[in-house]
Symmetry: none
Subunit: 210 residues, 4 copies
Amino acid sequence: MNETEEQTADKTRKPRQDRSIKTRDAIVQAAARLFSEKGYHRTNTKQIAAAAGVSTGSFYSYFTDKRDVFLDVLQIHSEAMQAHVDATVAQLSAKQSDKRMVISHMIESLIQSHTPYISYHRELSAMRLADETIREMLDSQYDAGRRKTLEFMKLSEHDLCVSDLEAAAVVVFESVSSVVDRIVFSGGGVPADRLKAELVDMLVHYLFGE
Amino acid sequence: MNETEEQTADKTRKPRQDRSIKTRDAIVQAAARLFSEKGYHRTNTKQIAAAAGVSTGSFYSYFTDKRDVFLDVLQIHSEAMQAHVDATVAQLSAKQSDKRMVISHMIESLIQSHTPYISYHRELSAMRLADETIREMLDSQYDAGRRKTLEFMKLSEHDLCVSDLEAAAVVVFESVSSVVDRIVFSGGGVPADRLKAELVDMLVHYLFGE
Amino acid sequence: MNETEEQTADKTRKPRQDRSIKTRDAIVQAAARLFSEKGYHRTNTKQIAAAAGVSTGSFYSYFTDKRDVFLDVLQIHSEAMQAHVDATVAQLSAKQSDKRMVISHMIESLIQSHTPYISYHRELSAMRLADETIREMLDSQYDAGRRKTLEFMKLSEHDLCVSDLEAAAVVVFESVSSVVDRIVFSGGGVPADRLKAELVDMLVHYLFGE
Amino acid sequence: MNETEEQTADKTRKPRQDRSIKTRDAIVQAAARLFSEKGYHRTNTKQIAAAAGVSTGSFYSYFTDKRDVFLDVLQIHSEAMQAHVDATVAQLSAKQSDKRMVISHMIESLIQSHTPYISYHRELSAMRLADETIREMLDSQYDAGRRKTLEFMKLSEHDLCVSDLEAAAVVVFESVSSVVDRIVFSGGGVPADRLKAELVDMLVHYLFGE
DNA sequence: GATGAATGAGGTTTCATTCAT
DNA sequence: CATGAATGAAACCTCATTCAT
């Protein structure tokens, strides 16, 4: 009687085999695409399964429920984003170029990393209301963003002419996020490069007093 | 059996009696509150009707469906917001106070007008995906915001040190919106007044070069 | 929120498994019975599902709505009817018996094939008002009936003493249909065999002048 | 305490005043038209009231429910029909014209009296399933029709060459009803006059052996 | 009396999730 | 294991009928 040997309690499979991993991935990809195209609520599990080329039954052996894939998509999205930003930061620090250049590159990088998730981002904030876990994930993502912004700013701390660094980080992070979002989402009538130029201008003036 | 598509035309009730107007209003109020508290998708028509103190039947004699109230709430929300901003602009223009003061007041006003719609705002952008009409309404709201920002900036045009006014208006509008949103929504760990101070700082530096 | 009209396309299930086919059939059978017993409007989808021993959900995975099963029932009904008539025609042509006998057998056959659909038939004509598709199906059924009558009459064309064969076919078809209906539905106080005898008499006199 | 003087129990008003009678009539007319256009189930009380130019409230002070107007419409329809037929019979008996002429006139008269009720007739038979009272009314209408046919046939009894008069009356009544219905409803591709000619032919051959 | 707003039971329909095959 | 059929709770919506004004 070695029943306790394995906890049958964990419903969803932890993929160990290659095929299994591939299937799981296919589902996440499909879900990501559909959520981003039609939103969470207008996407149903049947559609996700179909788009991933599996049966609804299979879907439920990889994920406990719809929310579960959503969290996964969220996670992956977040990690991809952060990795991209981190890479950019590392590159920029090394190069030690002038401030305007650094900010400009940073923003370009953000625009690039945002692009694949057009509109998905917007759905996210709406989902905060729906679920405690989602709220926490989003808040921790937000925190990470804010922290990274702060650290990034601290790299040039002695050149900054702002007094309240912490608050500034929030303001910068929000401004950049929203303008980048607007650029990616389709610029409200004004071409992307002009928006980007002004955003950089604003940040340079604000942070370095010209 | 709706092939011979009857033009019933007597669909939603046009209020003739006083009571009717009150009921309709109660429904809109209730819907606004619930949408803002729990989001659109987690609110159902029964709940809205109950919260308004009416039957589901009544709900459907004033609105064709949930989306219909949503549009109404959106409209009212938008109008209230714009009226508030317009009033502030009028007041500020008259007073002719110094630039930092003007911006600071403006932002304070935005914070005030945003507050009743906490989190509702976030839902909206997600809804763009779901519906053409909503998309149009939101886009026209966005346009109005951008245009007002532009006009507001033009009031001090000769003092501005930005080259691309149009792009600047977008950048300013987005930045202000998102930071105000963050402030109202609960400041990401940093007190509201500090965020506000930095936002004002950023705008002053950017727009007037100190 | 159905403006962006999604082509879900995976609407009604196309049976792949055996079980599926059985379920679909059970639903159609149940629907046919209930429609015939209580009429279309007094039968609801829940009742159909229950009578078929399935859930409402299942009902909707096989049919888009109540009208959809109705069309199916109509189709099956019609086919069964026509097959029965065709078989009788084939049999009669072969036997080459005398005219009165042929007509008598034909009518007997119609009575037999009508019987399982007692009263269902009556509902149908009322439904013409409700739906374009139903109108078309019924009209095409009617046409088929009229055409078959015409062909049947043409088998004995040289013995017929009617001038306007086409009009005669309509008159005969209508008369036979309505009297058979009355016989099956319960003969208005007069026993079935007497009605049948007179109907045959009428047709023989009319078509062959005694 | 003269409460018993008047039975307050009869909810619906018995119109004694002129205006009252007019209103009631307007409702019945409106109902008749709508039922005939769209069928009983696709017509709602609000529509009937609106079409009659009264409020839904008023509707319910003249009729206990929707079924109640239906019965009224049915009654009036039936009476109008019978009166028309009776008038025709009276006229024809007097004139004493030849048999073919008599039948031809009779049928013409039926076509005339049917016309205003196009398609309404079809709804009726479907309603038999719905309601005991309706069944009884329809059955008694049917009986009246059959009886009248019988009487009409008896006027020329000594010329008839049918043996089973009672059954013949049913057969004739059904045949005439259904062909007239078809003519009025739009002749299934064959012009009305040709159908009528054949119908008359059939009856003459059957009843008088040429 | 007349009005039309309000009611709510009852119908339709969807879809996340389970489970027999 | 995979499949997709089955489930049913929960949402949506209608309309005959009542009732306050």
